[in-house]
């Protein structure tokens, strides 16, 4: 039934208009949606990179063109011209040859076609015949005949084909006779232009032109780009360094190179990010490096969201407030709290090393990380905190079992109250008088606690008394000994060494400690006289192990006389401000002590019981109990061996996975810092108790971490290490596994760090800290600063780079067990460390492994020189030639001149040195030990020219060999060694 328009409720015309408008709106919005989906930041970067690459390629083309030898090109072009006009003269021959080639080609094509046709029928017939014959069919004979006919036909064509090919060869030779020269010239021109042509081709793909450009634009157009776009997400899928998404591990899919397009390419070192080349292609990303991108990707080290292709979503992490601000402006950066592995800021990238390079003393090429690790080793964080990679370490503080025999209770109280007040460079942190204990009554409570600790240590420790000194030493001689014999490799005496303003700036943490890190291994001796009892010093410097069997203080083999002198000197090193007990805090009132002890006891028992227990105790007993509770609360046993606390577990948080800790699990309190874990770590390290600020807590519940006075830099380095201690589990195949050689080196490195070898020796490219103090001695003796620096090497302990290459393992073992002087002119002594056999072996092995020498045994295939060779050797030793004895000692015979010009005793060489090393040493000493005084006799560029011509026919190799063999016969010749008989 038709309905009239005016019967509708609504106006149809208006609805139609409305419909049209909304449909157009929908279309536009759809377009917008497609554009929004299409328009991605990374496409912009890829386009920008193509432009950059085009510019670069164009520049390279210009450079390549300029590099072409123009004269060569011109002569080739002239030759081409000439050859072409020569060919022109034989145009008829050329046309004839070309015509013949064409007709031969045609014939070859047709015969070849026939051949292949017949071949297929022949093969089929052959099969039929074979089947028929096998089945014994009667048709076999007929089939064989047919097959043979085809076979003959086939053979005819094959022969014909060979004939044609031969004729083709002749025709081509005829053609070449005419135009060959021109072709050669053309080819040479191409070769000359090859570089430019290659670059041009690259430019064509990078910046196509004309139709190609339009085609590529079409491929990348919206809605077309599903086919084969050139703008593509670049990714590497890495299942060997997976991502833990809590329920399972999934392969990492790093898409960083979608924007960081030049990360794996050289030549973009100066480009703006994201197009910069990786700064260390030798170590990372590069295919030949230790961490190629196709195995490790990017985020396994840098962290960040692997699958993201957007600046913010990749969780880039700014390195400084300025960078943060710049990123907020440029990229709309904001912190993404939803990704648990935010990218490591640039300065802390090394934290990423730790998850694979675990538990090693040193990660190669990671200087910041190594310094952070060294700080942890030195300050002993692992005493209170369990830390992966630092299990089973020795405690870093001195053993306190016999401390009462070493110093006075008054000094102990003063020290515990504030170690830095007595010795600002001390590693011992401050526990008392910190900002979270400054309420009324806190000072007195802490004084009672300190008194308790002192009482506990005195009461519970071993009672040892030392006999009086056997005589009187002379302080001046003692000072000379302390400053020359080697003490200063581990100990500084900063009040002698540094101007007061430098010390003050260091104390206020405004400047780094100017004393070398290694020389802070032992305590600074500046005020040691105010601390130690003379009898104790005398005993200690002579035989440290008798006081503490685990001490790392070595024995410098001081005589009684020397020990007395040293004692006399050290006693003079007093604290100027030390007027006895006045420096110590006043003793707390007994009520304060009782109140504090009551508070401790009431944690576990009713106040009544606690009071009853206190009532039955004497004052001393109360002090000791309070001391025990205080030591328990502050965990002093984390660093010190304290009687009664040998088995106590560490009191701090486990830090093994601290780097993965979510900031929600950290208490920021009222401290105004960014709510990120690294910011919290840094704050905690700088000011450990600041998070108590504004909180209400009884003293028992307040934060206990002591104040270490780390500098900004140290706190940043420690934060870096903490960030590296993540819970990420890397599959074994990707973890750095040490080879047996690396393990030996590693074990040696650890021993050397534990015994501070770098305090005296340069090894692993660092150390030799004692030179600081030796140079000072030289200046004191009247040298200028520059002179002292120039000669200090002559008085310094030897450099140990290449030591494994240089010396024989047997000798090194013996030497480490019982050092005997090699360089008698040195005042500084190699101490006796009292290494166990295992430790000594480990050290010798480490030196051998470091230089890829065999360990422990080796043959010495040598024959003593005789006759002409012996005469040649003796002649080369004379002043006319190398004049060896002018510097080298020969047993008891010393060279002339000042001792700093002397060189080691050659009569020891046969037992000490590796023979091949001696030869290489003579050949080029500077190559083995840059800066050595040993003269270079053979010019490394021209050994034959610089060798003495009149010895052994001027053959440098033979000369060196003879010298070496002769050196090996010096001293206790042979001593039963194979091949070394006289």
């Amino acid at each position: 039934m038709p309905i009239k328009v005016d019967e509708y409720l609504r106006k149809i015309g208006a609805l139609n208009v409305f419909f049209a408008a909304s449909s157009i709106g929908l279309l536009l919005v759809m377009g917008w949606m497609v554009y929004d989906d299409y328009h991605r930041g990374w496409k912009g970067y890829q386009a920008a990179f193509l432009r950059l690459e085009a510019e670069k390629t164009e520049a390279e083309i210009r450079a390549a063109r300029d590099a072409i030898d123009q004269t060569a090109l011109q002569s080739l072009q002239a030759e081409l011209q000439e050859a072409r006009s020569a060919a022109e003269r034989h145009a008829r021959d050329r046309a004839e040859a070309e015509r013949r080639i064409r007709s031969l080609d045609a014939e070859h094509y047709s015969v070849d076609l026939q051949y292949r046709t017949i071949k297929s029928t022949y093969d089929a017939k052959k099969f039929d015949f074979e089947e028929a014959r096998h089945a014994g069919a009667r048709s076999a004979a007929e089939l064989e005949r047919e097959m043979d006919v085809d076979g003959e036909d086939l053979e005819g064509r094959r022969v014909r084909l060979l004939e044609i090919e031969k004729a083709q060869g002749e025709a081509e030779a005829a053609l070449r006779a005419v135009i060959g020269r021109a072709e050669d010239a053309q080819k040479k021109i191409h070769e000359l232009n090859a570089g430019v042509d290659r670059l041009r081709k690259r430019l064509e793909t990078v910046a196509p032109r004309g139709l190609m450009r339009a085609a590529i634009a079409a491929l990348n157009a919206p809605l077309m780009d599903f086919v084969a776009p050139t703008f593509k997400i670049q990714q590497v899928v890495l299942d060997r360094v997976p991502i833990d998404i809590n329920f399972t591990r999934i392969p990492r899919a790093d898409r960083c190179q979608t924007c960081h397009l030049a990360a794996d390419r050289a030549g973009f070192e100066a480009a703006e990010q994201p197009f910069r080349s990786h700064p260390r292609p030798d170590l990372f990303v590069g295919g030949a490096s230790a961490h190629p991108a196709d195995r490790f990707g990017c985020t396994s080290c840098h962290a960040g969201r692997d699958r993201a292709v957007d600046f913010v979503y990749a969780v880039h992490n700014p390195d400084s407030p300025e960078q943060k601000e710049a990123w907020e402006r440029t990229y709309g950066w904001e912190r993404d709290h939803h990704w648990e592995h935010p990218m490591l800021p640039r300065s802390r990238t090394e934290a990423g090393c730790l998850k694979c390079h675990q538990g090693v003393a040193m990660v190669p090429e990671a200087p910041s990380l190594n310094r952070g690790i060294a700080i942890i080793d030195r300050y002993g964080c692992f005493g209170c905190h369990k830390m992966r990679g630092w299990q089973e370490r020795e405690k870093v503080g001195p053993t306190l079992t016999r401390v009462a025999s070493k110093t006075t209770p008054a000094w102990l109280a003063r020290w515990i109250g504030n170690p830095k007040a007595f010795r600002p460079s001390s590693r011992m942190p401050r526990f008392f008088g910190l900002p979270n204990n400054r309420e009324p009554g806190d000072a007195e409570r802490e004084a009672a606690e300190i008194q308790g600790i002192v009482a506990y240590l005195t009461e519970k420790g071993e009672k040892v008394s030392y006999p009086p000194l056997p005589g009187r030493g002379e302080a001046r001689r003692g000072e000379r000994l302390v400053k020359t014999v080697g003490c200063t490799g581990c100990h500084a005496i900063e009040k002698d060494e540094l101007p007061p303003d430098v010390i003050r700036a260091r104390d206020r943490l405004e400047a780094a400690d100017p004393v070398a890190w290694e020389r802070r291994f032992g305590p600074d001796l500046s005020r040691v006289g105010s601390k130690l009892r003379p009898e104790w010093i005398f005993r200690w410097v002579q035989d440290p192990r008798s006081y503490d069997p685990n001490t790392r203080m070595p024995d410098l083999r001081l005589t009684t006389r020397e020990a007395l002198d040293v004692t006399a000197y050290l006693i003079t090193l007093r604290d100027e401000g030390d007027s006895g007990a006045s420096a110590a805090a006043p003793a707390p009132r007994p009520e304060a002590r009782d109140r504090t002890l009551l508070a401790y006891l009431s944690q576990r028992m009713t106040p009544e019981d606690a009071r009853a227990r206190l009532a039955g105790m004497g004052a001393r007993e109360k002090d000791v109990l309070l001391g025990e509770r205080t030591i328990q609360r502050y965990g002093c046993f984390g660093c010190h061996i304290i009687p009664g606390f040998e088995k106590s577990p560490p009191i701090g948080t486990d830090l093994s996975e601290e780097g993965s800790k979510h900031p929600d699990l950290l208490f920021f309190g009222y401290v105004k810092i960014e709510h990120t874990a690294p910011a919290w770590f840094y704050q905690k390290l700088r000011s450990p108790r600041s998070f108590d600020e504004g909180k209400v807590a009884t003293f028992y519940d307040r934060l206990r971490m002591p104040q270490f006075d780390f500098t900004d830099e140290q706190a940043a380095l420690l934060t870096l290490v903490l960030q590296g201690l993540t819970k990420e589990k890397v599959p074994l195949e990707s973890v750095r596994r040490l080879t047996p050689r690396d393990e030996a080196v590693e074990a040696g490195r650890r021993l050397m760090r534990e015994h501070n070898c770098k305090g005296c020796h340069i090894v692993d490219g660092a150390g030799g800290a004692i030179r600081q103090s030796i140079a000072r001695n030289l200046v004191a003796e009247g040298m200028s600063e520059d002179e002292a620096q120039a000669t200090v090497a002559a008085f310094a302990p030897p450099i140990l780079e290449g030591e494994g290459d240089k010396v024989q393992p047997d000798w090194l073992f013996d030497f480490l067990k019982a050092p005997a002087p090699i360089r008698p002119w040195l005042a500084v002594r190699m101490p006796t460390f009292g290494f166990s056999d295992a430790q000594t072996n480990a050290l010798v092995h480490a030196f051998a492994a470091r230089d890829n020498r065999s360990f422990p045994f080796q043959t010495l295939p040598l024959a003593a020189p005789r006759g002409e060779e012996l005469r040649a050797a003796l002649r080369m030793f004379t002043p006319d030639y190398f004049n060896c004895w002018s510097c080298h000692q020969q047993g008891a015979r010393k060279p002339q001149g000042p001792p700093e010009g002397w060189a080691p005793d050659l009569t020891l060489a046969h037992r000490r040195l590796n023979p091949d090393w001696i030869a290489r040493w003579i050949e080029n000493p500077q190559a083995l030990m840059p800066g050595t005084k040993m003269p270079t006799y053979y010019d490394p560029e021209d050994p034959r020219g610089s060798a003495p011509p009149d010895i052994l026919g001027g053959d440098p190799q033979r000369q060196m060999q003879v010298l070496r063999d002769y050196v090996f016969t010096l001293g206790a010749r042979g001593a039963g060694r194979a091949g070394a008989q006289p």
Binding site: N246, F247, H337, D664
Partner: protein, 377 residues
């Protein structure tokens, strides 16, 4: 600024759950029945509220609320929570639900007035005679709405990104952990009831109850047109269940429940370290220990006897009283079987606000607490 801060403090103070809930219930009934409930003074007091059903007054009120809402975006804490992409639709829901509830009630009252004066209802007037055609009057306009709605959704999806968070971690759940918005009402119930009631029984009863409505409510009036007067109780019960016990709980769960499921005012910072006292008192402790000064009996049945009696009385005795006194008219109209089923469902619904009030006022944990049998009410 101090003035604004004071207002914010007042709003935060009013947003504490017991206050906010009581205010909401009072406002709900006052607006639904302006000048109609309670003693004479209360009627006089609430009568002016009827003005809200005048479109102009309502427009001003909505405008004012919207203005307040948008001004609140100047507060960083408010913006942080309300401005989250996944909370935007819930914020919109406040206004949408408000508007449509208002619109239906306003139309119902309009029709009531028309019918009182003997005129046909609005729907009748609009439709005319013959009736309105499905095509084009209905389908065409629906189609247009569909197109415009698609346009709106696309624009929304361009501007607000999908709120994707970190990979799920069983060792570290998000704080607060929240259900999807449409389940936040259920999650809120978990605060007051044992999971088997809040998560299984009550949702089941909600569905059963909705299915049962046609069998309880056989009143044919109101079909095809809005009305209020002809179905006052039915509308009141439904709207109480829907607006107060469902939508309101979703809003609470979205905007006021912060870390650790603590309550936060709309202008308050969601501090994960905020501590509020959490005390659980069992009804049995209240009766035995506090009232009778006796230790708890070891037999669970004996221990929980008071709770069981209260719950039994609530579901068994109360319906009878309702039928005899308060809802006599309905009892007579529906007959005992239907009335008692209806009464059970109604009481179950009302048990939620009752339990909430007990929880807030007395820290009451459970009326019946029998962990031995996994039975807690």
């Amino acid at each position: 600024m101090a003035f604004v801060d004071q207002i914010k403090d007042i709003v935060n103070w009013l947003s504490s759950p017991p206050r906010f809930f009581l205010l909401s219930v009072i406002a709900f009934f006052a607006v639904l029945f302006p000048g109609e409930l309670g003693p004479a003074w209360l009627r006089r007091l609430t009568r002016p509220l009827a003005a809200i059903y005048r479109p102009r007054v309502a427009a001003v009120l909505f405008g004012f609320l919207g203005l307040l809402f948008f001004l609140s975006f100047r507060d960083p804490n408010f913006l942080l929570i309300v401005g989250k992409p996944d909370n935007v639709p819930i914020a919109a829901m406040i206004f949408l639900v408000g508007f449509f509830v208002w619109y239906s009630l306003q139309q119902g009252r309009l029709n009531d007035r028309l019918q009182e004066s003997g005129q046909p209802v609005v729907e009748k007037q609009e439709a005319g005679d013959p009736k309105v055609l499905v095509w084009p009057d209905l389908v065409y306009t629906e189609f247009l709405c569909m197109i415009l709605w698609t346009v709106f959704l696309i624009i929304w999806s361009i501007f607000l990104k999908a709120p994707i968070e970190e990979p799920a971690n069983p060792a570290k759940t998000p704080n607060p952990s929240k259900a999807p918005w449409y389940f936040l009402g259920l999650q809120e119930m978990l605060v007051y009831f044992d999971p088997w009631i809040a998560g299984v029984l009550l949702p089941g009863l909600i569905i059963l109850g909705l299915m049962a409505i046609p069998y309880f409510d056989t009143n044919p009036k109101g079909n095809g047109y809005y009305t209020f007067k002809e179905r006052r109780l039915e509308i009141a019960i439904f709207l109480f269940g829907f607006v107060v016990l469902w939508v309101w709980l979703i809003l609470i769960g979205t905007f006021l429940r912060g870390p650790n499921q603590n309550f936060f005012g709309p202008y308050e910072y969601w501090d994960a370290h905020k501590l509020v006292p959490l005390i659980n008192i069992e009804f049995s402790q209240l009766m035995w220990v506090k009232l009778l000064k006796m230790p708890l009996p070891s037999n669970p049945m004996a221990r929980e006897i008071f709770g069981l009696l209260v719950v039994g009385a609530y579901f068994l005795v109360l319906p009878r009283i309702m039928g005899r006194f308060w809802m006599k008219r309905h009892y007579e109209k529906m007959g005992p079987p239907r009335f008692y089923v209806m009464a059970f469902l109604l009481l179950t619904m009302l048990s939620l606000p009752i339990k909430m009030l007990l929880r807030w006022t007395m820290n009451l944990h459970f009326l019946v607490f029998m962990p031995e049998a996994f039975f807690n009410i």
